[in-house]
């Protein structure tokens, strides 16, 4: 086995082992507690919270990816092209919006729970995918498009079998950025009562228990790294080879 594969397998196995039997790792986290506080999060099932966190992130990312790619397709053709200049400025303005602000404004509109977190994640996740899909679709070489027209493809065929696959690698790269940002932002969701690993971190902050903070932080950090890695590999497998 190559070292990278070995490392990847080891990380996956240890995360799964930790979620399956957290109590077996008590000795690892015990040094970070004091005054006899529990070393392993005991106010809920860690595997449950991790799954809820992952589900929220994946659902939000899928939703924002679909919306972002659709928007990018619309503004790069036909009458939608009138929106192209402002789309570019909106992306750069949108990225200066702090995620906390998006989350905070969503709460009064829809109440507490997972919904405001979902809205914030979708809104914030749109930007990287949209930006990359826009670059990918708007900057295709004219010769390629003319060739597609030349072999008699209609607009749909050209989009589906030429433009989207060519923009694919950039879109996947945007998706990876979105996933990493979302995993981190979703922890903030726990401040508005969304279910997820943020609960573990906040419980640790409130009870001054670093072991909890470490568990929540490590699990979310590893989740981000593993997702980033996995999407890259899936993308390389699905997309046609280029160059």
């Amino acid at each position: 086995m190559r070292p990278a594969t070995l490392l990847r397998t080891a990380v996956w196995l240890s995360v799964i082992a930790f979620l399956w039997r957290p109590s077996a790792f008590a000795a690892v986290f015990a040094p970070f507690t004091h005054d006899g506080a529990p070393a392993i999060y005991d106010q809920g099932d860690l595997a449950d919270l991790a799954l809820a966190h992952l589900g929220l992130v994946l659902f939000a990312t899928a939703l924002s990816a679909v919306i972002a790619v659709l928007l990018a397709v619309v503004v790069t053709r036909g009458p939608g092209r009138a929106f192209l200049p402002m789309s570019r400025s909106l992306v750069s303005i949108g990225q200066t919006f702090p995620p906390v602000a998006v989350l905070a404004v969503a709460v009064p509109l829809v109440g507490f729970g997972s919904l405001p977190a979902l809205i914030a994640l979708v809104a914030y996740g749109l930007l990287p995918v949209f930006e990359n899909a826009l670059t990918g679709l708007a900057e295709l070489p004219a010769s390629v498009l003319e060739a597609a027209d030349g072999v008699g493809m209609d607009a749909w065929q050209r989009l589906w079998s030429i433009e989207l696959p060519l923009a694919g690698p950039l879109i996947v790269e945007g998706l990876r950025q979105t996933l990493v940002i979302s995993v981190g932002t979703a922890t903030l969701g726990s401040t508005v009562a969304a279910k997820g690993l943020g609960e573990v971190i906040i419980a640790g902050l409130l009870s001054d228990n670093t072991a909890f903070v470490l568990q929540g932080g490590l699990l979310t950090g590893l989740m981000a790294i593993l997702l980033h890695d996995a999407i890259g590999r899936i993308g390389a497998y699905v997309l046609p080879r280029q160059g």
Binding site: F83, P85, V100
Partner: protein, 384 residues
């Protein structure tokens, strides 16, 4: 493209703005700041007696929608936004009852959507003008000055967010400067550490790889967790050397937040420094050595000026990012504008949330535009 097709954004956003203005409540009257309120439509909030206001608003919106020249659209859009805000202030002042201190007049959905649509009109005009970053800087400076004068005039004092500000004025100044200290200070320290680190990493492939990999891993740790993980060692430090505690360094407070923000800022600074230093052609390097330049002279005279725009781009990214992340500091007792946001979320008081969120968004926008202008200027000088 036909004229109609090119004007699609104008028609869409101008129309949506007016539709939102008439379709949804303009104001919300609440008997206290935490209860849901009763909507007031714009026809009731600003009746016929306000006809000059209506005239200016409708003229400005239609000019911004139909004018052919982008600069005319930009001016008209700006006037429309200012008029809408002015109307909000006037309407709120009429609704407010003097003897009732807990009553709140908040902007309604109709106002927010109309404002959003008008801002999109302005964005479209700015994007079509293709303003350079320095001109955008002038534009945003003008907006800030006009906004500050407007807020200072007292015309908006009846609006809920400003009432919240009046109650918290002293605390606001404190949290605002704390927010600036956290975000700007952490970026300064990160630049101070990151530049030398980037220069050292440049040209040493293995060192660069391991430094960048470590910093990328740090970036994946969620901000709340990183803040929390730093609390324990800092608390231990403060317990060991009580003198440190006098400087405000301890488990709770701004110290863990400040250090965490520095750590987050390091990756873009170091990565962009390395990237920038490598922007030089191999031929230029050969020529420089041929002219007898030393390695150090090559760095200071050739690589550094070429790298500067890339480095400043990295600083722009982290500054905007840290202005947003500094809000999280409130969760570990570090203060900043996040204190209002999380207090507001806890009390379901949207006005308090906005008191924290609006200045933060403005701060991030201003920082982004300012540094964009700086990057543009450096790029131009590099090419010259």
């Amino acid at each position: 493209m036909t004229r109609l097709a090119r004007n699609l954004p104008g028609l869409l956003f101008g129309g949506a703005g007016l539709w939102a203005l008439f379709g949804w409540p303009f104001l919300v009257e609440k008997s206290s700041r935490v209860v849901p309120g009763i909507g007031i439509d714009v026809e009731l909030a600003l009746p016929v007696a306000y006809w000059p206001w209506w005239l200016v608003l409708l003229c400005a919106v239609s000019t911004a929608t139909f004018a052919r020249r982008p600069w005319l659209r930009l001016i008209a859009g700006g006037v429309a936004v200012a008029t809408l805000l002015y109307g909000l202030g006037s309407a709120a002042a009429v609704q407010v009852m003097d003897e009732n201190a807990v009553q709140r007049i908040a902007p309604g959905v109709g106002f927010w959507c109309a404002l959003g649509a008008l801002l999109l009109l302005v964005t479209d005009a700015v994007a079509r003008l293709q303003l350079s970053a320095s001109r955008q800087c002038v534009l945003i400076a003008l907006t800030v000055v006009v906004g500050a004068l407007g807020l200072h005039s007292g015309h908006f004092d009846s609006i809920s967010v400003m009432r919240e500000y009046a109650v918290n004025a002293d605390r606001f100044a404190h949290e605002f400067s704390r927010h600036l200290l956290l975000s700007l200070g952490s970026v300064l320290v990160a630049v101070w550490l990151g530049l030398p680190l980037g220069i050292v990493c440049h040209g040493r492939a293995t060192l660069r790889q391991s430094v960048l990999a470590t910093l990328s891993v740090v970036q994946t740790v969620p901000s709340i967790a990183l803040f929390g993980m730093l609390m324990a060692p800092l608390a231990a430090l403060a317990a060991a050397w009580p003198a440190l505690a006098q400087w405000g360094i301890g488990g709770i407070g701004y110290a863990p937040a400040f250090i965490a923000l520095c750590l987050y800022a390091l990756l873009p600074v170091v990565a962009n420094t390395v990237l920038g230093l490598e922007r030089v052609d191999a031929a230029v390097v050969d020529a420089a050595y041929g002219m007898g330049l030393t390695r150090f002279q090559l760095l200071t005279r050739i690589r550094w000026p070429l790298a500067l725009p890339t480095i400043v781009t990295g600083i722009r990214v982290v500054l905007v990012q840290n202005i947003g992340l500094a809000a999280i500091a409130a969760l570990v007792g570090g203060g900043g504008l996040g204190a209002f946001i999380f207090q507001g979320i806890g009390q379901t008081a949207i006005d308090l949330v906005l008191l924290g969120a609006l200045p933060m968004v403005m701060l991030a926008l201003v920082a982004g535009v300012l540094l964009d202008a700086l990057v543009e200027r450096l790029e131009r000088r590099r090419r010259a």
